[in-house]
Every structure is written in C-alpha cells, then in structure tokens.
C-alpha cells in the first residue's frame, strides 16, 4: 500500500511549552480527512481536529497543507502526494486564529467581527409582506446577484489567507464582507440597513483590503470576497462615504479621467490626504529628475468621444451621479482659462491642426513635451 508522511502540528497549551510536529505514516487513499481519521483510529487517538459532514458542506475541516489552505474532506491524498512529489506533508492549523489545541482554532473572534457588519436580512416592509401567509415575489434573475456569496460555509480559509487580517487587527475578514454584501444586493433588504452596513464596513477596514485576491483563490466554495469588497467600495463612494482615503482615491481617478482622460499625479496626495505640501515637493522632485509634469494634465485626443462613452457606461450602470460635475467643471475652467477657450473647442482645434499646429506648440510651450 502506498503511504505518505504527514507532519502534523501538535500543541496542547496545558501540556506543551511550545508547539511541535509529529510524523504519521498514512495510506494514500481517499481524502486528507480520511488520513486524519486513520491516524485517530490506528495511530494516535489524542490528535485533535474538527470534522463533521465529511462531504464539504459543514466547513469544519479547513487547515493548511505545506502552507496552502485546504479543506481536508475535499482534498484527495493522491493529489497532495503528486503536487508535493512524495515530500512530507506539513499539516498546520489555520493562520490568524488562536490555536485551542493541535489543528483546532478559535473561531469566535471572526464570528464576532462578522456580526458587526449586519450579515442578515433586515426586511423592507414594502417588499417583504408582514403577513406571514403572503408570499414575497422574487424573480429568478434577482437570485443571480448573490448566488456566489450564499455559498459561504464559514470555513475561515479566506480569513487565514488574508493579508489585510495580517496587517490590521480590526479588519473584519474577507468572508464577512461577502456575507454583508449579499444583503446589499438583495431587493428585500431595507435601505437604512444598507447604509449602516456600508458605514460599519468602512470602520471595519473596507479600504484596508490590498486586493491581493488570495481569498478568492482559497475559497473552497467559489465565493469571491475580493470582488465583493470592490463592489462594496463602489457602493460606499456612491452613497457619499467619500471621506476615507481609499474612497477619495477612487473619486480622484474618476473625476480626472473624465475631465482630462488622465489621472493627475500631482494632485493625488493633496486630494486624497489633503496634503498640499506634497504637491510642491513632488513638482520639485519631478523637475529635478527630469520627469515632465503638468499642473493640469493635457486633455487627451478624442476626449469628447471618450467622455460620451464614459457617460454612457455610467448611466447604464445608473452610476452617472458618481461624477462630481462641480469638480469636473472646475478642472474644465482651469483648462479654458489657460487656453482662453472652452475645452471642447480646444480639443477640436488640437485635432484639426494636427501635429505641429499652433495649439500643440502652445501646449508644449506651457507644459513642455508631447503627451499626445
């Protein structure tokens, strides 16, 4: 019979000063859970781990194999042996969670954190009838909006893999945002609850996610927390929660790209962090390094067409209001003040004149360089 060596993390805080690894020889048969049960039945009944359904629905058995997060009952031993070419398989408890004993970790904290995001339906009485014998109508298409999020089985794989959890104690965890987002896109959930969820998500670290996408890769159930977090951020900005640096950054991008077709490197620190000094320092540093900078980025070619497309997309998504037009108008004004003409005329004229035209020269003269 083919066998493999499992190097299993052992630690009983009552007995052991420090954790250690214990080697077990197990058959390469069935799943990793089968191997652990084999140990318990035949080699060492004192090994502690959680398992219940043995068919990947209960979320009990997440752990790490050679550093990679795995669901024990979903992971064939054969696959592990092939992947690691017969090397010993180091089995560790999940990260970022206190070890209770061996592979068993304390999951109360992430559950408590999740609770702060109102991860439950708060019914809108205009949609959900209060009469218990009255059905609420929901069209099959509506279920699509949260079809992935509802698969979360609280296995905490994503929590273990998450970089933001590592860095930021208060960070609620990928799964928590997904479970909260599920109600943000449910028509039955009342608007006031949606608002609150965004507020709590922000104070729970919504803008701290570094978008490393690890959560998305480790989730055994196809939940995509990284995407849900992006969508939550979008909602936060749309709902006017723009006072966080992350939100301001997003707004900065949207505004400047709309106004000029480019982001404004110089204004980024000022607009995001309110740091005026940084602009001056940056300008100086750029100049010293010979990098061209413009106070107002030169409008790109075809800007008007680009704006049309942008508006079309935004209005389709019902997000046109995301644009701060007063801000955009201010930028337009800066441009037209400099050129003594409105921005449309300028862009048109740049086009008509083509390369070597007067305006281009003037632009060059003003800001230097050709940024086509």
């Amino acid at each position: 019979m083919e066998t493999a060596t499992l190097k299993v993390f052992r630690f009983d805080p009552d007995k052991d000063k420090v954790p250690y690894y214990q080697d077990y020889e197990v058959p390469v048969e069935g799943t990793l859970l089968n191997a652990l049960l084999y140990i318990k039945d035949n080699l060492d009944p004192t090994l502690s781990f959680r398992a219940f359904c043995r068919s990947e629905v209960c979320g009990s058995c997440a752990m790490k194999v050679n550093g990679k997060t795995k669901l024990a009952c979903k992971t064939p031993m054969k696959e592990l042996v092939e992947t690691w070419k017969g090397k010993p398989l180091r089995i560790d408890p999940l990260d970022h969670l206190k070890v209770i004993r061996d592979l068993v970790v304390d999951i109360d904290k992430p559950i408590e954190k999740m609770k702060t995001l109102i991860p439950w339906l708060v019914p809108d009485p205009r949609v959900v009838p209060t009469d218990p014998m009255h059905e609420s109508i929901i069209y099959p298409e509506e279920l699509e909006a949260y079809k992935d999020q509802i698969h979360c089985m609280l296995c905490f794989s994503c929590y273990s893999a998450c970089e933001a959890v590592e860095d930021y104690e208060r960070y609620r965890g990928p799964f928590a945002f997904s479970r909260a987002y599920r109600f943000q896109v449910d028509r039955r959930d009342i608007e006031t609850a949606k608002e609150k969820r965004i507020r709590y998500a922000i104070s729970g670290g919504l803008w701290s996610c570094v978008q490393c996408q690890k959560c998305l890769y480790v989730c055994p159930k196809g939940v995509k927390p990284a995407e849900d977090i992006q969508n939550l951020r979008g909602q936060a900005v749309r709902k006017g929660f723009t006072d966080k640096p992350g939100a301001k950054k997003l707004k900065h991008y949207v505004d400047w790209i709309y106004a000029t077709g480019q982001i404004n490197r110089l204004y980024l620190p000022e607009e995001v962090y309110g740091n005026r000094e940084a602009r001056e320092k940056l300008t100086k540093a750029y100049e010293e390094m010979g990098v061209e900078v413009w106070e107002v980025p030169k409008p790109t070619k075809g800007l008007m067409k680009f704006r049309d497309i942008y508006l079309e997309i935004l209005s389709k998504e019902e997000k046109a209001l995301d644009l701060d037009f007063s801000h955009v108008r201010k930028i337009d004004k800066m441009v037209s003040d400099i050129f003594k003409a409105d921005i449309c005329t300028i862009v048109d004229r740049v086009h008509e004149e083509g390369k070597g035209g007067k305006l281009i020269e003037k632009l060059k003269g003003l800001f230097g360089g050709d940024n086509g």
Partner: protein, 563 residues
C-alpha cells in the same frame, strides 16, 4: 452553575428555529447548546428540499399532503400530528423565505416546487440543491440578529428531572473541559438522528450519534418506533455519502447490470420516483439476486448522462462534485455507482402532537423526536418540514411553560456522577479498542437490521449487540487532556450508539410484519390486525422493555400502500 429559563440542545434546523421563535416571543433567558458550531449541523447536508403546499400550488391541498404522508408512513403516523404539520407548511416556508432563504423561483417570481418521491403533486420547495444548507445559514444569521446565546461546542451528558418536571442538564465543555451543571426550567432536545449506529454505511455526519435520544433513554424516557430506519436508496457505493433524491426528481434512471430500468418491475407507475423504502428494497433485491453492477455486483447504476451537462450543472451541481470527488466518476459521462445507505431515524423520543414528552418542560423536536409524523417511513422533503414546524411549536410550548414554571433545583449528584464516569473512562485498562468495536457495531446493524430483516438473524444480531454493549464498558479514553479532547467525545458518542442499537433491535424482532422501512423476509406483509401500533422501548434497570401504543387515525383508514 449556569442558569437559564430555556435550554435548546442542538443547533441544527430544529434547534435554531426553536431558538429564533423563543427569542422573538419572550424575554426569558434562552440558550442554545450544541456540540458543533450551529452551521456545521447536519441539516446543512439536506439537499433535496422541503415539502409544503403553498398558496399557488394549484390542485394541491394540505389534505392531499397529509394523505401522501400517512400513506407514505404505511399508516403508522399519527394523523392528528400529520394534520398539524401539513397545515403549517405554507406558514413556515413563507416565514423562512421572508427571513432570507433563497428559494429557487418560478419565472413569475413564486417559490418553485418539484416532484419528490411519494408525493401526488410537485410540492417540494428547493433552493438549488443546497436547501438545508441555505436554511441553516439563514436561521443562524437570524439568531445572530436576535442575539441568541450560544453554548458552542458543549456536549450534553444527562437530563435531570424529578419524575414530573425537568430541572436541568449536565454537559461537558469541549473547549475547556469540565462537567457543568445547568439549571433550567425547560429543555428542548433537538439533537438530530442516530443513523450512525450503522457506522460504516450511512449518509449521516460523523456526529449523528443520537446523543439526546440516548440521554433521554437513560433518563427513563420512552423511545418510540425505533425499529424504523430509513435507508436511502442512493448512497455513493464507496462511502455511503448521499446522492440527493433530486437526481431522480430531475429524471435520473436506475439501471442494473443489464442496463435495465428495473423499477418497472417494482413500481410500474412511479418508477424511479416511488418512495424511498420501495426503491431501496428494489435496489437491494437486484443486488441480492445477482443483478448488481461492478466486479462484485454490489452496487447499482444511477444514470444521469441523458440529462446533459448544462442541466446537471444547473440543477445538481453538488451531486456532480461529490460523484467526482468521492467516487471518481463524472455523472455527465458515466452512471454513478450507488447502494442503499442508512439515512434517517423515523423513531426517537416519544412526544405528543405538540412535541411534549411525559416530563413537564421537556420537549423534543426534529429528527431526535418521534411525534410521529413519519410513521414507518418518511417521505423525502418531509423531515425539514417536521424540523421547522416542531422547532417552532416546541419553542412556543416551552415559552408558555417556562413563563409560569417555578424555579428548579437540580441536584449536583448527576454532575458528580458524570465526572466520575468520565474519569473512569480515562482510567480504564482499555481491553477494548474503540475503532474495532465501532466497526463491529456498524457491521452487526447492517447485517442483521439492514434493508431486509429476518427473525433468526435478528436474534443473533441482538445477542451480538448486547455483547458489544458489555465490551464497550472496557473502552478507554487515551487522551487525558481537558482541552478539546476529541477522543473523549468519540467514546461518549459511541456509548450512546451502543445504548441505542438494542432499542432498535428489540422492537424490530417483535414487529412480526413488514411495514414501511421495516421489511421482513419472514413476514412480507403488513399486519394491521396485530401491528397497527407504535412500539415503545424503555430502559429499566439496565433492561430494554417493550410495550405498544395505539396509532391516532382520524381521516384516512389504512389501505394497501401501492405506487
């Protein structure tokens, strides 16, 4: 000592729904005690769906549902209770839908329903093929919303009562170790089923060991209809893990080694959609008579290939995943090897039509209870309904009772007792090995009390069970740690199994007829004259005592059960 007004033992569908209804209807102190975190409970594994007649179920009616249930039960269900359950169907479905359960919908936005075995109308509501999972997750969310107190990873040991009313419980705190005495006015047992007595061949989770049922038996409470264990016809051949009935509901075929759709010989009209017991027996007969598939002829083929990849992915994604992972077979291309697997315990703690036991303040709901709404055979999709209806009813009963009940005063004797018992297990010389004995138990149950039963075999089986029960006293807990001692838990669970197995065997031998899931080769027919009655088992001075109890028949007189 911990103190509550109501303790709900179990965090599955029944326990959580009870907790929710209690929390919303009282300011009393309510706690849910559960040996695994609530969302791990086995309710999460229910795939197929939940039966209920909804307002848009044209042509269907709660009476029709009740009739199907009674007929499915082979007329052993109590009809007054069935009536209550079926009438509450729409109310509980709409309630959980309003709380967020993402039921699959028809194009007009109403809850979709599909046909299920033994039902005369398509009345099984479903949420893709993870109905139980979504229900459990939603109920958990709603409990969090209502700030329900959870004692997570606590293991019920004993029920304390004074012969008249319940006084408290003892429990082991798995995480920190230690036996605790809990004072409470009311207890709802919602600890799930005990199909793990068939250790090696069951669709159930590792921990479905009937702990609450065994504790009730030891506390002197009667268990009812324990001989009735449902075998699901379609367990994966290698592991017993379930292939949902939905697979046949969507149009899957059962074929024997000759490729024949053999159900035409057993249930010509309903074919694959006949009730579970009939399909399970058909499969077992095919296997026993040498028409099984595979090199050893020990399984049958469930063929989904004609449904096409798209339909399988849309309607049966989990079935496909499990077949690939645990059987190594992709149902899109090949038929799935299946054989009957122990699946559901119809029997359990004897309760009346409102979930009350003979002890005041003590209730049972869900699979650990026997009301009885399932009689000799449960229809697919009726268990989740039972779980919700009785979770809710017992919660309301418990609230009403605890509101007025006087303080209790549980003695510490039981706590001391349990402490000693656990210490003894750790200090035992360990003549017997848990894994071996457990395997023997499972094999004995499957061999002598499986799909087909027969007197002389069962008598041998019972002897063996009593022997295993004796030997179980010499099992040792090797792990002496306090913290998260899973060795201790496994042994405690096993001891519950060995207490329950004879409670299944004794009435199985004495019920000399075939009814529902209880199929006797020596008595192939139903015998209403002598056995249209519930069996009742009690443990008195270490002996299993059997008695009988009448069945409530209101609307539907017994008739032959044909499909």
């Amino acid at each position: 000592m911990l103190e509550y007004d109501i303790v709900i033992v179990g965090g599955g569908g029944a326990g959580l729904y009870a907790a929710l209804w209690a929390a919303e209807n009282t300011i009393l102190k309510v706690a849910v005690m559960t040996k695994v975190y609530p969302t791990r409970s086995h309710t999460g594994a229910a795939e197929g769906g939940i039966n209920a007649v909804l307002t848009h179920s044209i042509g269907d009616s709660p009476e029709a549902h009740a009739y199907d249930t009674v007929k499915g039960s082979d007329f052993l269900a109590d009809q007054d209770a069935v009536d209550i359950m079926c009438k509450m169907g729409a109310a509980v479905i709409y309630d959980i839908a309003h709380r967020g359960v993402p039921f699959s919908r028809r194009p007009d936005g109403r809850i979709a329903q599909r046909p299920f075995g033994g039902a005369s109308f398509p009345r099984t509501c479903y949420a893709a093929d993870k109905t139980g999972f979504y229900i459990l997750q939603t109920l958990y969310e709603q409990c969090l919303k209502n700030n329900v107190t959870f004692l997570n990873e606590w293991f019920l040991l004993s029920i304390i009562h004074n012969g008249e009313r319940v006084e408290g419980l003892t429990a082991w705190d798995i995480r920190n170790g230690g036996v605790h005495l809990i004072k409470t006015k009311a207890v709802i047992l919602a600890t799930g089923g005990h199909a793990r007595i068939y250790w090696n061949r069951t669709s159930n989770a590792l921990g479905n060991t009937g702990d609450g049922t065994a504790a009730a038996l030891r506390a002197g409470l009667p268990l009812k209809d324990m001989e009735f264990i449902q075998f699901h016809p379609t367990g994966l051949a290698k592991t017993g893990i379930l292939v949902t009935e939905g697979a046949r509901g969507e149009g899957g075929y059962l074929r024997n080694r000759d490729g024949e759709r053999f159900m035409k010989r057993y249930a010509p009209e309903k074919m694959e959609l006949a009730p579970r017991d009939i399909v399970a027996r058909a499969i077992q007969t095919e296997i026993d008579e040498g028409r099984g598939c595979g090199p050893r002829g020990d399984y049958i083929c469930l063929d989904l290939t004609h449904l096409g990849e798209e339909r399988i992915n849309e309607r049966l994604p989990q079935t496909r995943e499990h077949a690939i992972l645990y059987e190594g077979v992709d149902p899109v291309r090949e038929p799935i090897p299946i054989a009957p697997t122990a699946h559901y315990s119809m029997g359990g703690i004897d309760t009346d039509k409102l979930g009350r036991t003979g002890i005041k303040g003590l209730y049972a709901a869900g699979e650990c209870a026997c009301v009885s709404v399932h009689g000799a055979n449960r229809l697919g999709g009726n268990s989740l309904l039972d779980v919700l209806v009785y979770g809710r009813l017992t919660a309301l009963e418990a609230v009403k009772y605890a509101d007025e009940a006087p303080e209790t005063n549980p003695s510490v004797a039981k706590q001391k007792d349990d402490e000693r018992r656990i210490l003894e297990l750790m200090e035992s010389e360990g003549k017997e090995k848990l894994p071996e004995l457990r395997r023997e138990l499972g094999e004995t149950m499957m061999k002598h009390f499986g799909v087909f039963r027969e007197e002389s075999s069962m008598k041998k089986g019972l002897e063996k069970l009593m022997e295993i029960r004796e030997r179980a006293k010499h099992v040792k807990v090797h792990d002496t740690g306090k913290r998260f001692n899973t060795d201790l838990i496994s042994v405690l669970e096993f001891l519950n199994l060995v207490d329950l197995a004879p409670a299944v065997a004794v009435p199985a031998i004495e019920r000399r007829e075939s009814r529902g899931s209880h199929a006797r080769r020596d008595y192939p027919n139903r015998d209403d004259k002598n056995f249209l009655k519930h069996s009742v088992v009690e443990l008195k001075n270490g002996e299993y005592k059997l008695s009988w109890k009448p069945v409530k028949i209101t609307k539907f007189p017994p008739e032959e059960r044909k499909y």
